[in-house]
């Protein structure tokens, strides 16, 4: 009879413990909850729970006039509300066959790219905190974000929920000193990116923490339906601004930033580099901005669309933000569905996290850069 002790597999009996992270946890970026099955410090399984912020924005849109839906779109993606509005109003315009004046399109482009900057600043700041900088990255990022928000406030009176894009154009004309103000904001944003770059990227601990963590292959990323910087970090060069152009994106020069490894570090670098590209786009837009009307000459007071369906996607900071809309005729959509980039990106969480340490689970979640209101809608 052999001793039990001689058989290594019976030496210890260990048990995984479940660690509940969220919905109230400093690093779940909103009301996301994940239960980690943990073996010591190593994550064996991840069970995500979503839906804490579900408000039925899509359903609400179906009960309202097309124009009233714009406000709900702001609230689905509060960190990049202009981009969310853009998808929605462009979908309605496509459905109703409305032509948007040139000036309105350029201003939309500027505001969307500025919003991409503010959203990525938010990512950089929060990601720094996830990695463990006490909060310095957060305040650095928020300094720049405030500057951008001040500009937004001057233009549309609101800092986060703008409701500024209208079907057919814009709500009202931008302020007189708009161009000068945007140049100011860009100068400060450029400085801010460099500050954050210096604080985080060059740091040895930061690199050691982020490189090789949360790897996902290009094939897996496509299978999960990932998009945006999270997809491009794996090496897939897909940017809707370039591949399926809308607004005047074909007329401006910008590079699509791709990574190679698809790890946390690459996702971070992709976003950081994208911010420089956004600045580049905005500068070109400002040169092309001409005076002119911001709403079509003739708009009916009651907006009715012919029956039909439309799917329109744009490149939001977090990836593909698509709006699918079915109209039965009349002044409200029969069905409105938002294709959320965050939801698709979040699905890959388990693949990316399992096998890493608990501390890395926080990093992986942070690097996907989710907005829970967009996931839950």
């Amino acid at each position: 009879m052999t001793s039990v002790l001689l058989q290594p597999e019976h030496e210890f009996e260990t048990q995984d413990i479940f660690v509940n992270m969220g919905p109230q946890h400093p690093s779940t970026h909103g009301v996301f909850r994940m239960v980690l099955a943990v073996d010591g410090e190593v994550v064996r399984d991840v069970l995500p729970y979503i839906g804490y912020l579900h408000r039925g924005a899509e359903k609400l849109c179906e009960t309202m006039d097309y124009r009233q839906g714009i406000g709900f779109m702001d609230r689905t993606e509060y960190l990049a509300a202009f981009n969310a509005e853009l998808s929605y109003v462009m979908a309605v315009e496509k459905l109703a066959g409305i032509e948007v004046p040139e000036r309105a399109q350029w201003i939309r482009m500027i505001l969307c790219e500025l919003n991409r900057l503010s959203s990525h600043f938010m990512f950089l700041g929060a990601f720094g905190v996830d990695v463990g900088v006490l909060g310095t990255s957060f305040t650095y990022a928020f300094r720049e974000r405030e500057v951008i928000f001040d500009l937004f406030e001057e233009i549309c009176g609101d800092r986060m929920m703008y409701s500024y894009f209208r079907v057919g154009g814009l709500a009202w004309e931008v302020t007189d000193n708009f161009v000068a103000r945007v140049h100011q904001v860009l100068a400060s944003a450029r400085q801010g990116i460099e500050d954050l770059d210096g604080l985080l990227t060059a740091n040895e601990i930061f690199q050691a923490r982020t490189k090789g963590i949360g790897h996902i292959s290009a094939a897996d990323a496509i299978d999960w339906g990932m998009s945006g910087p999270s997809l491009r970090a794996t090496g897939v060069s897909l940017d809707i601004r370039r591949d399926e152009p809308y607004l005047f994106y074909p007329e401006v020069k910008f590079d699509v930033i791709t990574g190679t490894n698809g790890d946390v570090y690459d996702r971070y670098i992709c976003r950081l580099q994208e911010m420089y590209q956004s600045i580049r786009i905005i500068e070109q837009c400002l040169q092309r901005l001409q005076p002119g009307p911001i709403v079509p000459e003739r708009m009916s007071r009651l907006l009715r669309t012919p029956p039909g369906e439309v799917y329109l996607r744009t490149e939001a900071p977090r990836g593909e933000y698509g709006v699918y809309m079915v109209s039965n005729g009349g002044n409200r959509p029969w069905r409105c569905k938002v294709r959320s980039a965050c939801l698709s990106n979040l699905q890959a969480l388990r693949d990316m996290t399992v096998g890493h340490y608990v501390s890395d689970a926080v990093l992986v979640l942070g690097s996907i850069d989710i907005v829970l209101s967009e996931v839950d809608r």
């Binding site: 400093p26 690093s27 410090e41 463990g132 957060f138 050691a208 608990v358 501390s359 926080v362």
Partner: protein, 375 residues
Amino acid sequence: MTAEFLGIEMPVLLEAFIKVNIVVLAMTVVVMALIYLERKIIGRFQMRLGPTRTGPFGLLQSIADALKLVGKEDLRPTGADPWVFELSIYFIFVPVFVGFVVVPFAIGWEIRALELGLLYLLATSSVSGLGFAMAGWASDNRYAMLGGLRAVAQGVAYEIPLVVTLLAVAMLSGSLNLREIMLDQGTVPNIVWQPLGFIMFYIAMLAELNRAPFDIAVGESETAGGPHIEFSGIRWSMFQLAEYAHLWIMSIVGSAIFLGGSAWPLGEDLGTPFQLLLMGIKSSALIFLAMWTRASLPRLRIDQLMGFAWKVLMPLAFIQVLVNGFVIVYDLPLLLLTVQGLIGIVVLNWAIQRAVARPAGRPGIAAWAASEATS
């Protein structure tokens, strides 16, 4: 059984009692000041103002916080182990208080200049690891448990390089008495002979104190406070007290051992006030460095932290002891030690760079995940 204290003859016990009380009171005040300063300094790093509303420049903020904490309800989770839970904080802050016995504020200004003072200090301060384990285990909270286990693993790992580097210095001075080590540096501080030793001491000290970038036990963004998580009110303030008192002790000891303490420069000639000033400046510099680190460095992961202690710091610390031994036994010029220390710093930097440049992915974990997937 009489001794002289401030020119008055009094029994030894009474003298010790008075000194202990002075130190404990001073410590409380210093801890409050440190908390205020840390908030102010980190505020400046983060382009904030820090506390401003309570008193002039927010000076009374720490006092207000302390009063608030005392007034708060002392909660204990239902599932917590009552004895271990309540005792754990004593295991954290009593060792720190006890350590003050040998701390040399100036030449002759310590409660007792023990012959084995350094050993005593290290022995007492390592007990607090037990306190963290108890707090983590008894809280009946998974974050607390993770944090507690991390604290113990980290404490054990960094204790060794800390002790060995300090041992190397003690070899040079030929004493474990903190006063003697300090006096030995009257002309040249030890950092000149032990530059590598100082850096390793500082790293190990940060780890021992659970401060950034080694704050994985508390890990605000991961374990949400770690062992502290279930403590509230006065018990939680004890954690703070212990943390900052420990920081203060370690910075004083560090400046006494490596920076010449109150002996260099001219400490012995210019009297006690000047010595206190010297010590104040040196220890403040170390404390400021710790706050600076906290404001700007990300946190290490547990495996990186352990790997750094066992694979990098430990061999370097033992090599330091070996070289010191050779130099002392064969009576070689001390300048050799400086050269060796600078080479050691280069090696340390190389090791860090190599760890960063390591190809992406960790084979151990990947192999483990693959075996999991197949089984």
